[in-house]
Subunit: 196 residues, 4 copies
DNA sequence: TATGAATGAGGGTTCATTCAT
DNA sequence: GATGAATGAACCCTCATTCAT
């Protein structure tokens, strides 16, 4: 029900964000022009400027919306004891977020050069640093710090490098998580294959 | 000895490559213009076109020059037995290459979006796949394949994520290698902390 | 007395004129956008169009309101005998008007290029011509016509060029008037320094 | 001799300046687009950018070229004794310059609002102040300072306000100069009509 | 080995204006 | 008495590329 005249009245802002992220992730930030976004939405470029101050503003707004869960995760993690189980929970949730907001994270990974002067670059790096902090023991030896870093990157890399690999996505996600666990387990001081 | 008039006569092509890679790595491929490169070399844009057919040609030529060692490594690896020591040697050499040609690899990592249509993208992916093949056992379970993937990514990530961290570079490189070894060790079927 | 809900209900039109003139005088007509005016008033651009047909309409309406005194002065002058005292009175009153409506006159002086196609340009020039007519004797020699012109321009120039100079504003205004008198005195056929 | 292929090879820069000044003076700076300039020259907009860094750069370059004589005049004046004859010579030469570079000065007068942020504004004001300094006696009373100011403005105003008036241009210029002399004469301490 | 001069395509952005509500 | 949403036209500017010299 509702007017059929303006089938999408009111949600233009959201539609811009959706299409923009899709294109940014697909082609890269620099190579995606506002003209392209506008055409795909069947509006004029000027319409984009009614909803956003600039091209950068579009990606920033998307970033803020989609990375809130990471903020929440960091906040949650800081309130928890630094147990192994907490760390695993962090990895588990983070993996889930990456899956849920895959295009955004793909964008972040593939456009690091653009990020550098995009008002997102810094926030992104900070968030990664915050996550590492949740995983690392204070004053851990260098190799353990590398393990934690690697645990996070494994999740990222797994997400994208395995995209074209055969196999059930959920299964792949679990394999990635397993390796990721292993790495923090070791860093946390646990030996042996797996943690059971 | 030698003309003092044209102190760099004849090596313009090389100088273009050097400056270009420097800028590409620093600012990204799309955001680096030929004007900028030419200005920094104190030649005209047209001069670049005397030496290279296009902007893409510049980066392709650099890529080819700098990634030959990886080709060689792959060739070497294929001629070796698939032992653990071979795998470790692969990682060791690869790590060294990343250090030696850091700007190129930084460029590759941060400009994946640009790479997609750059005639480099595919070769780069192939090389990564070749390396993985050297590390993985045929028909290994998914989790072991992830370990090998992760071993490679750890080297990459360590390279860049630890750049600003305190500590001796060489020491950091060794810590990264250690974790990397660990991962292929496991994938190879070795258990226990360390490799003894 | 009066609603406290809408403290300025009904005077929006006036407020638009005030803010617009302020900005036009400060930044120039072309460089002042309706967005800017609307923002400063905390209304939308569309609101401006409820009160005025166009951007030009805004400045035209202000012009009409603020230059009525000049029309009156011309009308008055035409009804007077063309004595020296009349001419001085014209200068005196004109000087006062410039002071009272300084922003408008500043705008007129600094935006002559814009005025050319602004439906104000002609009226403004006419008014200046009318004033000159009040000061000039018919068939006066060229040099005397220049004196009258100069008398008027002195008032204009004095207004703006002396703005940053030290000294009491009223005193400056009188100095300007004195020189202006001198010029019409001569044109009127009076010799000697001053007219006392 | 000379190729007939490229009838104006080498003088494009100059031609841009000529056409630009013509249009800037005619329509104003803001209302003249680079497209317009390019079209009139039958080149592309991009060609303008080969010769000038920006729109502002075009007007700045013209300004510098055309106001050098004023700089020279100021320099000359400062080396002269501050006699009445020197002052008259300043006015005489200045008047000549205004005539010679009329479009530039028309532009300066009619686009003051644009000048404000044009990197020319300040230099222009300074030059005017320098000229005033040549005419004014140090510590002169306010009214005499106004006379000098007025002398300069008379030349400006005369230039443009009398453009449409009947009469021989040279004759008009002399009438303007006469009034201008009168004003500095008085300021210099000379009484009586004319200077005899 | 280069340069000088130019182009065509496209970039992001801003503007005055409109109109249904 | 106003707003929300959008448009069309134009803006300045930058880019990779070309080609005669």
């Amino acid at each position: 029900m509702g007017s059929t005249q303006h089938p999408r009245r009111g949600d233009t802002r959201q539609r811009i964000q959706d299409v923009a992220l899709e294109l940014f992730a697909e082609q890269g930030y620099e190579k995606t022009s506002l003209r392209e976004i506008a055409e795909r939405l069947d509006v004029t470029k000027a319409a984009l400027y009614y909803h956003f101050k600039s091209k950068e503003d579009i990606i920033v707004s998307i970033f803020k919306d989609l990375t809130r869960p990471v903020d929440d995760l960091v906040a949650w993690g800081r309130g928890q004891p630094r147990t192994l189980e907490t760390k695993r929970e962090v990895l588990r949730r983070y993996s889930r977020m990456l899956t849920d907001a895959a295009p955004m994270f793909r964008f972040l990974q593939e456009n690091q050069a653009s990020l550098r002067d995009l008002r997102i670059g810094a926030p992104f790096k900070e968030r990664m640093a915050d996550l590492r902090e949740l995983l690392e023991e204070p004053d851990a030896p260098l190799s353990d710090r590398v393990r934690c870093l690697s645990a996070l990157f494994t999740i990222h890399a797994g997400m994208f490098a395995l995209k074209d690999a055969e196999g059930d996505p959920e299964e792949k996600r679990e394999a990635v998580l397993e390796v990721s666990y292993e790495l923090v387990d070791r860093a946390h001081g646990v030996t042996g294959r797996g943690s059971e």
